[in-house]
Each structure stands twice: as C-alpha cells, then as structure tokens.
Symmetry: C2
Subunit: 226 residues, 2 copies
C-alpha cells in the first residue's frame, strides 16, 4: 500500500523572483514525489517588517548579485525570468498587496485556479515587465489563466472585504510563526515532524528529507512518472 | 584531446559553516569535474564591513533558522557540523583573523597543505567546539593535518609579518572586487567569462555552467571516476 502523501506548504508572494523559482520546482515535483502541495499566498512586505529583515536589494552589492543570480537561476530552472526595468519601483513602491489579496480570494473561492493565476501574475512582473497593481492588470492575468471575465470581476470585488484581508494576514502570520524572515518558505510535514526551509535553493534538501529523488530543478517529468 | 580545466576560485573563511559546506563539495568534485580548484583564504569580517552587509545571525529569526539549516545541510552534505555552544561569542567576539592569517601563510609557503589544514580548523570550530584563536590551537590543527611541529611553528611566526597580512588583505579585496557581500563565493572562469556565485547552495548551478554532471553534495566519487 502506498504511504499517505506528505504535505508541503509553500508560502509565496509574486513580488519575489525566488518565490517563482521555488513555486515552479514544487509544481513540477508534486506530480513526481508522493506529496500534497498546498499553495499559501502571503505578503512578503509583512514578513520582512515583522522579522526586522531588509530586502536583499538594499545592499548595493546584493542588488547587483541578485540581477545576475536571478538570470542564471532562471536559465537553470527553465523559468523565463527577466528583470523589470524599474526594479526598485516594482519592489519597493508598487508592491503586491492587491495581487496577493486577489490570490487569497482565488484560493478561498476556486483553489483549483490558484496555480495558474499565480503563474500568470509572475509572468506579468518577472517575464514581461507588466503592471500587476491596477485591477485591470490582475483581471487580465486571471483571464489568461483561463478564468472567465465574470468570475475574475466577482473575485476582484472581494479583495477589499474583511474576509479576504484577514485571510491574507492570517497566512502571513502563519509564515511568521514558522519562523519566516523572507519568502519563499516551504513547511514540510514529514513523519510527524515539521521542517521550515527558506529559499528556492533548499529543494534538493527537501528531496533528501522526503526520501525522494532529486532530478534537478527541471526534472524529466514524463520518464519519472513511468 | 581533453579540454583545459576551468579554474574555480573558492573564497572562504573558517568562521563560516556554509563555507565549510561549499569547501567540501568542491574538494570532492575537483576529482570528478574537469576543473582546477584554487583555495583563497579570506576574511569574512572584512567583506561584511566593506559591503555594508550584516551577519545573518543579527536578525533573531535568521539566527534561529541558521541553527536548524546548518544541522540539516550538514547531514545532507555529509559534513559533521555541530553548532558551538557560545555561537555569538565565536562569531562576533573571537573571530578568525589569526586562523585566516595562518592559512594565508600556509598557502604562500606550502599550498599543498592548505586543504587539510583548513579542514582541521573547521573541525575545531564547527564540529568539536574548540578554540582557534590561541596560537597553540592553530598549531594543533596544523599538526593534525600532518604538518610537522617545527613547520607549523615557523609558519605561526610569520602570521604577523606584513607579507602575510597584506596577502590576506589583498585576497579579501579581490573577493570584494568580484562583488562579494559574504562568503563563500566561487569565482568560475569558464570560456572567457567570469561568474561569481554566492553561497554553498549554488553548486548545482555551477555544474550547469560548467556543463558537468551534478550528483548531489556527496557524489559517489569512485564510480564517477571510472
């Protein structure tokens, strides 16, 4: 008898390119490893503030490194990341509150769409340098993900409700309780133990903890499934 | 005809457990990949100061995470890391100036001993919670690595000379020029291009850049060599 799948919670924010990398790796491996992936949309700004951490880009040499690291990692992970032109404007001024509230509403009302809508929001910011703050931008991402225009509009109307706001706050607080000082984090529930792993670069360690095989960030899914 | 080996420079400080992880991975793969590994003893405190970065342990949640991450990574990398009891005392007060000056002298006078002496210093701090500040502690590490007591003493006498001090300063400055804001960094010279990779968690990316096979942090060396 196959053992029960282990639960992996992925806390993420579409503002972070490293979250995108971690997200794609886990979306691939959820079909290969014996795991159940739970996507947990969170607010990275809240986590940074709460933990006293600063965005890495505030240190000039880190900002410079980030640019080359994200590019190389994107190629290696086969995720089409491109740096937005006005990086600081995107990260520090525009932020992701509306986008993450929208994903929270998607998760509450039609969770089966969450993976696709999240990806389309990353593609807007981190591949095509497009806005994700205006409501019509979020609407466009939702439709691109396959949501009807009416459904997307109905969800957009909910992003300012206390229910959605509170849920996003609760998820962000849950990440903090697990010890987050940034995103992404994976919280892996394995054999009664809980492991919090920070960053998109702990996926091989995750495989090790799960006792599953690591085949790189872009596994040959088909052959692995056979 | 086999192509010329690519040069990998590893900048490291024995004060950092992540440096130890990166060091062991590259010491293993130097016998598997077509590379030439250059060990570059540097001073992490100088790099932090110069770049305006802060040690991760200054953020309480990061310090807490560091503890569990280093433990898990040590198991995964098969490196016998144990946290020293007085972590902050070791990192912030004791530091590594004498140890890194000694390794600099070793590199200048008998570079063939550098790998082993470096490892013995890490074992003292990060496996057995022993001192590395007193000269007799450094002497003990050198002897454990196979150096004669006389050679070790002769090198210890040189650690306060301008030649050794300047060499350590120059190596640390070289790391800064490559964009370091912490250690370890690997500077990979591949096909006329220079890539700076930060952290012990970029080794699979390094394999990707080299076009070499990644077999995890503890590769089955023998079978790979056949």
């Amino acid at each position: 008898m196959k053992p029960l799948p282990r639960t992996l919670e992925l806390f993420y924010d579409v503002l972070s390119p490293y979250c995108w990398l971690g997200f794609e790796v886990l979306c691939r491996y959820q079909h290969i490893w014996n795991v159940k992936l739970q996507l947990r949309p969170s607010l990275i700004a809240g986590i940074m503030r709460e933990s006293g951490n600063r965005p890495p880009a505030m240190i000039p040499r880190k900002a410079q490194y980030l640019r080359s690291d994200v590019k190389l990692q994107g190629q290696h992970f086969q995720v089409p990341i491109q740096f937005p032109k006005d990086f600081f404007g995107v990260i520090l001024e525009k932020g992701s509150v509306s986008a993450m509230r929208f994903l929270t509403a998607v998760n509450m009302e039609c969770p089966e769409m969450l993976e696709k809508v999240s990806r389309e929001l990353w593609i807007r910011i981190w591949a095509r340098d497009e806005d994700t703050v205006q409501l019509q931008s979020i609407q466009a991402a939702a439709e691109k993900a396959g949501m009807s225009a009416e459904d997307a509009r109905a969800l957009l109307e909910k992003i300012s409700t206390p229910q959605v706001k509170n849920q996003l706050r609760e998820t962000t607080e849950a990440a903090c309780k697990y010890g987050a000082f940034g995103l992404p984090i994976v919280v892996a529930h394995i054999d009664g133990k809980t492991h919090m792993l920070f960053g998109s670069d702990r996926m091989e360690l995750l495989a090790h903890l799960l006792g599953e095989k690591w085949m790189g960030p872009a596994p040959p899914a088909l052959s692995a499934r056979l």
